[in-house]
């Protein structure tokens, strides 16, 4: 876990951010509990996310979660960082590996650039062993001050 020793940054104003800052990670142990709730709100009832057998038929060792939920985790990570008055301008994510049942998924972000009140961030989600599930970039804007 490469962020555990780094300082975590609360909802912020632009003046307190520096390149290299790590965002406070967003962590979830993932299982049917999370996926079925997500399916509930997004009407995304996929057999391979509800049923181990169905996932095995598709060649995966067990059920796996929606890319869309990784997407939400990344947004939750960004929202905590920007606070209620910041905005998310752009997010770009690729899904590299399936989020298998019972993995603990951690969403991380690192500040890579600051331009005026716009902050660029590298972000990713990883499982317990550190393998990256989703990787991407974001642009957010923070309140000045």
């Amino acid at each position: 876990m490469n962020s555990s020793s780094a300082p975590s940054i609360p909802a912020s104003a632009i003046s307190r951010i520096q390149v290299g800052d790590q965002l406070q990670p967003f962590i979830r142990r993932t299982d049917f509990d999370n996926w079925n709730r997500y399916a509930a709100v997004n009407d995304e009832f996929l057999p391979h996310s509800m049923n181990d057998e169905a996932a095995r038929r598709e060649g995966f060792p067990k059920a796996f979660g929606m890319g869309n939920l990784q997407w939400s985790y990344v947004h939750s990570l960004l929202r905590a960082f920007i606070g209620p008055d910041g905005s998310i301008l752009r997010v770009d994510v690729q899904f590299r590996n399936p989020n298998l049942r019972e993995q603990t998924v951690t969403a991380h972000g690192t500040v890579t650039g600051i331009d005026g009140t716009t902050v660029s961030i590298d972000l990713w989600t990883q499982e317990d062993e550190g393998a990256r599930l989703a990787v991407g970039k974001a642009l957010v804007s923070l309140p000045s001050g």
Binding site: F32, D33, N36, R37, A39, A40, F45, M50, N51, D52
Partner: protein, 130 residues
């Protein structure tokens, strides 16, 4: 429509499994391990995950609503959950008229699986839509 004692209602049928149960959990916030995880259902002695009694309840309501029509009324309903609704079962909600008293119709209602075993037997009182 003239209703008489002994009339059977048009049935309501669903093949049941995670696809129905998780949708029901979605609207009822009923995310219980025994309903979404085979291992948890097995640990509870049901050989796998099984469906919510509340969904059997909803299926009985669906059947009644379609029979009584737009302006009908379900006055009361009562069921017992006798047997678990396990994955892959085809569940059918059925009803039969047992008595008529003025405009109040009494019914036996139940859900059964494909072999005819009753899962949730009960009774209801309804008024037909005018």
């Amino acid at each position: 429509m003239t209703v008489k004692v002994g009339d059977e209602l048009p049935t309501f049928t669903r093949e049941t499994g995670f696809a129905n149960w998780n949708r029901y959990a979605a609207v009822n916030d009923e995310f219980v391990p025994i309903h979404m995880d085979d291992a948890a259902g097995e640990a509870a002695g049901n050989g796998g995950a099984f469906g919510m009694g509340n969904l059997q309840w909803a299926y009985l309501h669906n059947m009644l609503r379609s029979w009584i029509g737009e302006n009908g009324e379900i006055l009361s309903i009562e069921v017992q959950f006798r047997s678990p609704n396990v994955k892959g079962q085809t569940v059918t909600a059925k009803g039969v008229v047992t008595a008529i008293d003025g405009d109040v119709i009494s019914l036996d209602v139940w859900t059964e699986q494909q072999e005819g075993t009753k899962l949730a037997p009960g009774s209801a009182k309804v008024k037909m839509g005018k």
